[in-house]
């Protein structure tokens, strides 16, 4: 019998600020950390219950509990503003950023989950003009 433990922590903050009738600012920041792991698997010693020569088998399974390890940390940021540059015309700017760090393994003897190292980041800047009429 083995324990499988998962932990997930989420933090978020969101703010909107309207300093004037022309300007509107907003931002959202979130952080998420999730881990999952098995306790080490201690397989019973069955050598005295075997008939025949199975000494070529390896029943230790020392690293089996590491196959399903997860350890991700991710940061997501969104911020932007809208500025009324003329009557019925607003300039907008939005930034989205996502970064994920995969601490579930290494490239060596402690392998990552089945997809390999998933660490990476992505960002997007979206901007334009809004016309109201």
């Amino acid at each position: 019998m083995v324990d499988y433990k998962t932990k997930a922590t989420s933090l978020y903050a969101n703010a909107n600020f309207v300093p004037s009738q022309r300007l509107h600012l907003f931002t959202t920041l979130s952080y998420h950390k999730s881990t999952a792991e098995y306790d080490p698997v201690e397989m019973p010693d069955i050598t005295d219950k075997l008939e025949g020569d199975l000494t070529h088998q390896d029943f230790s399974f020392d690293h089996m509990h590491e196959y399903s390890n997860h350890d991700f940390g991710s940061v997501n940021l969104a911020l932007g503003f809208g500025y009324l540059i003329a009557a019925q015309t607003t300039f907008t700017f939005d930034l989205e950023y996502a970064d994920l760090t995969d601490d579930s393994g290494t490239a060596g003897t402690d392998p990552y989950y089945v997809y390999g190292d998933e660490s990476g980041s992505w960002y997007m800047i979206r901007s334009g003009l809004k016309f109201d009429f």
């Binding site: 499988y4 922590t9 969101n14 219950k49 025949g52 990476g120 992505w122 109201d132």
Partner: protein
């Protein structure tokens, strides 16, 4: 071509609805907004996780996009249209139209792209010490870039046909279309365990349609609804070569190993998608009964896999009755029943060593009829009393019983009957607008929860794993004999479950609120003689919302989720 037809159909619907609304000759207020711009996106390292729901092929390019909004208001009608076009695969659109209470129409289009990852299969590589049995893998499409485009179309219409009896027709539709490429993994048999991975084209559609009519007849509300749902893949299943049967170490004995396989040395389709259809009818009735009110429904549904011709049928009935016993006390009774039957497929397996000279004591036929665990008669009854203890506190107490009879499971002569007693108490407290809190405790005690019979373990306590199911003179156990040695039922379903939920809201000012709560759950199964299955989880949460002045608004929160499961871990023996 189909996607173009879909987009054209949506456009036509929008145009018709818009024309219908605009055609009204009432005084109107129209507002339009148009956003024109574009986006630039890029990524570093492995972007398929961080940018899972983004169209990564546009990275490093400037992509034009737009938004459009149109709001039209009249004294007795309204029309709204919003479109957000990010790129060719990420589009959100919604149109709603209303004329008084006679006509409502709502159509939505949601389109997104999703990145899929590739299982590298690196943990599928091992070999016994001494060059024995082997497990290998081959990525036939190493470095493949899997993703799909998901489009969803939803529409809903409501028409008041006759006002006196409030006769109303409603219809809704939902389509989900997926296209792209995903990973498919074929598994060779265990004499030479070998996994092969390749790309598989993805082109599937799900369509769901519902239509019904509701009316007031005498003092009762009656209704009928018809439903239809279908799923289909529009591409052929991928195919894979299945290895030639042979001894995993010396490569010989093919003629001996081949008849132990259902197939070998051949190319066959795998990962085939079903074509399913589901049809349903539902009747509803509600009204006054004695001093209380009742609501009941009866439905029938039939599902079929059109390729395998396997079907399942279900009758579902529900009845609720609520009555106010006195100004402080309310009583609610709920009764539900489900009768479900599913076809039992016949599993045709090659005989052991078919075609080979086989002693009589080794001749075995493995064919069987797989009894469906979906077959069941499920009945549940609950009774709840809600009582206001004083102006600040309300207490509700619920008791119930759920009986599930899985007839014909695990064998045609068996029936597994599970019984669950349910007890629940909930206390609500409110102190003006400043503070409110609730606490709930729920307990479930189950006898004989669902399990897979004899799914695991050979007999416990055996000093030597000797065979006892064959009269053969061989000293070893044949792999198929081990099935009869299994004895342990497996389940993750609990016999005892405890749930706690507490949540509290504090409003120090009209502009600020603080929420604090905790959900906790613990369950275990005490009926498994050699397994110790239990689960626990804790979810505290805290949030703050404040708007100190008209210029500022702020929200923040923290959520923790900690869970632990305890269960068995087993390892397949190569020599099995």
């Amino acid at each position: 071509m189909k996607s173009k037809l879909t987009i054209f159909s949506i456009g036509l619907l929008l145009l018709l609805a818009a024309s219908f609304s605009v055609a009204q000759s009432e005084e109107t207020v129209d507002k339009y907004s148009l956003w024109l711009g574009g986006y630039y996106a890029d990524s570093s390292d492995y972007a398929k996780k961080a940018g899972e729901y983004r169209l990564l092929e546009n990275a490093g390019e400037l992509v034009p996009s737009f938004k459009f909004g149109w709001q039209s208001l009249r004294p007795n009608s309204s029309f709204d249209l919003d479109v957000d076009y990010l790129d060719e695969e990420n589009i959100v659109g919604r149109m709603t139209s209303r004329i008084g209470d006679r006509y409502n129409f709502d159509v939505q289009y949601r389109s997104l792209s999703r990145q899929l990852q590739q299982d590298l299969l690196t943990n599928m590589e091992t070999r016994e010490a001494g060059g024995g049995k082997i497990l290998t893998h081959d990525l036939m499409d190493a470095g493949a870039d899997y993703s799909y485009h998901r489009r969803e179309i939803l529409s809903k219409v409501s028409l008041l046909l006759q006002r006196d009896n409030n006769v109303r027709f409603t219809a809704s539709h939902r389509s989900i279309l997926k296209s792209g490429e995903e990973q498919a993994i074929a598994s060779n048999h265990c004499l030479s365990c070998h996994l092969t991975s390749k790309s598989q084209e993805l082109e599937s559609s799900t369509h769901q349609f519902q239509a019904g009519i509701d009316a007031e007849v005498s003092k009762y509300d009656v209704g009928y609804q018809f439903g239809f749902r279908m799923y289909e893949s529009h591409v052929p299943a991928p195919s894979a070569y299945y290895d030639e049967a042979k001894h995993p170490v010396n490569g010989g004995s093919g003629v001996e190993f081949a008849p132990r396989q259902l197939y070998d040395d051949t190319t066959l389709a795998f990962s085939a998608q079903p074509k399913t259809e589901k049809m349903s009818h539902k009747l509803r009735l509600k009204g006054d009964l004695g001093k209380g009110k009742f609501a009941g429904s009866l439905s029938y549904s039939r599902s079929e896999n059109k390729y395998s011709e396997l079907t399942s049928n279900a009758w579902v009935g529900a009845f609720n009755y609520a009555v106010t016993m006195n100004p402080q006390t309310r009583f609610i009774a709920r009764l539900t029943g489900v009768r479900r039957e599913a076809d039992d497929p016949f599993i045709d397996v090659r005989d052991y060593r078919v075609g080979r000279t086989t002693p009589s004591y080794l001749q075995s036929n493995f064919d069987y009829e797989r009894q469906s665990s979906l077959d069941r008669a499920d009945g549940k009854i609950t009774a709840e009393v809600i009582r206001r203890l004083n102006p600040k506190m309300t207490l509700s107490v619920l008791a119930g019983y759920n009986r599930v009879d899985r007839y014909s499971y695990p064998d045609s002569d068996d029936n597994l009957v599970s019984g669950t007693f349910i007890g629940q108490a909930k206390l609500n407290y409110r102190k003006g607008l400043k503070y409110r809190s609730s606490f709930k405790y729920r307990f479930e005690k189950t006898s004989d929860p669902f399990n897979t019979f004899k799914g695991l373990f050979e007999e416990r306590g055996r000093e030597i794993l000797t065979r006892n199911v064959s009269a053969s003179p061989f000293f070893f156990i044949f792999y198929w004999e081990r099935e009869a040695l299994k004895y342990q039922n497996i389940t993750t379903e609990p016999t005892d479950l405890h749930e706690f939920a507490w949540k509290s809201t504090w409003r120090p000012t009209l502009k600020t609120s603080v929420n604090l709560g905790l959900n906790a759950k613990f369950d275990k199964n005490g009926d498994l003689d050699s397994l110790d299955v239990k689960h626990s989880s804790f979810q505290p949460h805290l949030s703050l919302t404040t708007a100190p002045n008209p210029k500022w608004s702020f929200t923040a929160g923290l959520t923790l989720n900690s869970s632990k499961s305890r269960g068995p871990v087993t390892v397949a023996l190569f020599d099995g």
